[in-house]
Amino acid sequence: MSNSSASNRFVDRIGRERLSRIALYVVMYGIAIAFFIPFWRMFQLSVTPAGLVASGEFFLIPSDVTFAYWERFLVQEPIIYQWAFNTFLIASITTFLVLVVDSMIAFSLTRLKWPGRSVVLGVILASFMIPGYVNIIPLFTVVNNLGMVNSYWAIILPFAAGPLGVFLLVQFFRDIPKELEEAARLDGFSPFRIYAQIIMPLSTPILTALGLFVFIWSWNQFLWPLIVLNNDQLYTLPIGVVTLRSVNALAPNVIMTSLALASLPLFIVFLLFQDKLISSVQMQAGTG
């Protein structure tokens, strides 16, 4: 039959497919490059000598390169380590606290039967609708009255009160087969054992995902630490680098170096846990 027309159509089809494929690659990689440019700008400036920056010329690759600023921060300015340590400490404690406290209540809400638990869950979930920032003024007065201003608890505790972890864990715990817990009850497990030895080990995927997300979110907090931290020894990286800018108003390359340093830890975390982190994002929308 029409062998030739079939093969023509075939060529057409292949041709069109290839074209659209190429277009797709161009678009996707084009956007990726555009997304990369700011990172490049940061790195580029951090190794550009001051003279070149001051010239105000546009360049992609600096004609002259210096690592003096990196050296300055890495070697001479220890405060950035202090900030990194502070940030790490805050993020770690927050993460730990969120995982423990949220998993406990999620366990209680999904696995234990007590009157009023659905109301409690409802209230917690409803607080999802409350945007974090509308609360800062009264929250500050509360934290202040508790004498926690200028301490890490002021950052950690309000964060741990957020409903996200409860929401995610409740959803996850609900899907753990009831039979597992029942088998455990027949085996003589107490509620605490069921929590610690059945539910928690089974939830490692969500706990790591949630933990990562909380860690990064906490690491990146800006407005709230800016408000409650008064002492530069206590600063976190995000607010520290802004301070540096004020102090080094004239030197974009210095600022960029500090930024590169400040973002490096999370970049490494992201490199290592790309999939986990992305899946934690996806879980929030209930799509992952």
């Binding site: 087969p177 039979e179 029942e182 088998a183 009850r185 027949l186 085996d187 497990f189 080990p201």
Partner: protein, 378 residues
């Protein structure tokens, strides 16, 4: 003592839209060492009943004894029962060995060595000794099933409870595990209560079968009894595959008149019917394997589909609205479209009261299954 005495047990769930009665006044004696199967359609309350025995659900009303002890308020782990779940419920993060030993460690004060030797002994019995250090996820369905059973066995309970333990296996494996479970129960002689919705499983495995519908017992009896003498139309329909053929008939002039055929019964049959019937409206039932193909007969139907299955052929016939399923020998051949004559041997004909569904030909059956004598066999 592994006997179970269930006395007028009731279970209500408080839902959003009123209470649901999941089990409605069930009374039942399970004898020591017996293999009892509970069958019934989805939602009939099988799992609920089993879970009440296990202590996983509170009992709304009634009493439950295991051995001589009222266990209504005894914690699950102290009831001397072990359960095998449909999804196996193996602890996925623990090795098979830990899965099996955990219950022993928590509920007994056996030494570690004793526990280990008991676990290994049981594993050998189940043929899973090579799997002891694996995690459940790396096992096949059949292996997981074996581990779940082993975990129950190792505790040497007085009663095994099974909730559809085979329904996650594919057909061939299910067949295989079925016989294996039977073999184990034969060996251990532990009282077993086995829940399934698959009547074939129930028929092949059990000493006795309980047929549950809508939270109430429809019939209790040996497989042979429930197959040959179903207490009512529900049981007759539920047991046997393909299902019994049913036809609405009216008794007119000593004949049962259906839409598309007449059936001439013996006088005796008619009088036995009449003796217990409330009206003249009946349902006539006959199993596919009991219908005879007989060209000379007056009952006819046209062959729609012939299915060849193993050494049998199944004929799907119809006449107007009346449909027949008939099992014949594999060598019998018909072309679709042929008109076939059928005869219904009176021995195998069942007659049900169209109002109550009761099987009119089965003697002294007790109709109210929740009364105390419901556990008696016919």
């Amino acid at each position: 003592m592994g006997s179970i005495t269930i006395d007028n047990i009731r279970k209500e769930y408080g839902g959003d839209s009123g209470t649901i009665v999941a089990v409605d006044g069930v009374s039942l004696d399970v004898r020591d060492g017996e293999f009892l199967t509970i069958v019934g359609p989805s939602g009939s309350g099988k799992s609920t009943l089993l879970r009440m025995i296990a202590g996983l659900e509170d009992i709304t009303d009634g009493t439950l004894r295991i051995g001589d002890q009222v266990v209504t308020n005894v914690a699950p782990q102290n009831r001397g029962v072990a359960m095998v779940f449909q999804e196996y419920a193996l602890y996925p993060h623990m090795s098979v060995r830990k899965n099996m030993s955990y219950g022993l460690r928590l509920t007994t004060d056996l030494s570690d060595e004793k526990i280990q030797s008991r676990v290994e002994e049981t594993a050998e019995m189940m043929g899973i000794e090579d799997l002891l250090d694996k995690k459940p996820n790396s096992l096949s369905g059949g292996q997981q099933q074996r581990v779940a059973t082993g975990r129950a066995i190792v505790r040497k309970p007085e009663v095994f409870l099974f909730d559809e333990p085979l329904s996650n296996l594919d057909a061939k494996l299910r067949l295989h595990m079925r016989t294996e479970l039977q073999r184990i129960q034969d060996d251990l002689e532990t009282t077993s209560v086995y829940v399934t919705h698959d009547q074939t499983e129930a028929m092949t495995m059990s000493d006795r079968i309980v047929i549950l519908d809508d939270g109430t017992i429809q019939q209790v009896g040996t497989p042979e009894t429930v197959y040959a003498e179903p207490a009512n139309q529900f049981v007759a329909d539920f047991i046997g595959s393909p299902s019994m053929n049913f036809f609405d008939v009216e008794l007119e002039d000593g004949r049962f008149v259906a839409d598309d055929f007449d059936y001439q019964p013996s006088k005796d049959l008619v009088s036995r019917c009449r003796a217990r019937a409330t009206t003249d409206e009946f349902v006539l039932g006959i199993r596919p394997e009991h219908v005879r193909v007989d060209e000379s007969e007056s009952i006819t139907a046209e062959l729609d589909v012939l299915e060849h299955e193993g050494s049998d052929n199944y004929l799907y016939l119809s006449k107007h609205e009346t449909e027949w399923t008939v099992r014949v020998d594999g060598s019998t051949r018909f072309e679709p479209g042929t008109t076939v004559g059928l005869s219904l041997p009176e021995d195998h004909v069942h007659l049900f009261d169209r109002q109550t569904g009761e099987n009119l030909l089965v003697g002294e059956r007790v109709r109210n299954p929740s009364s105390s004598s419901a556990t008696a066999e016919s």
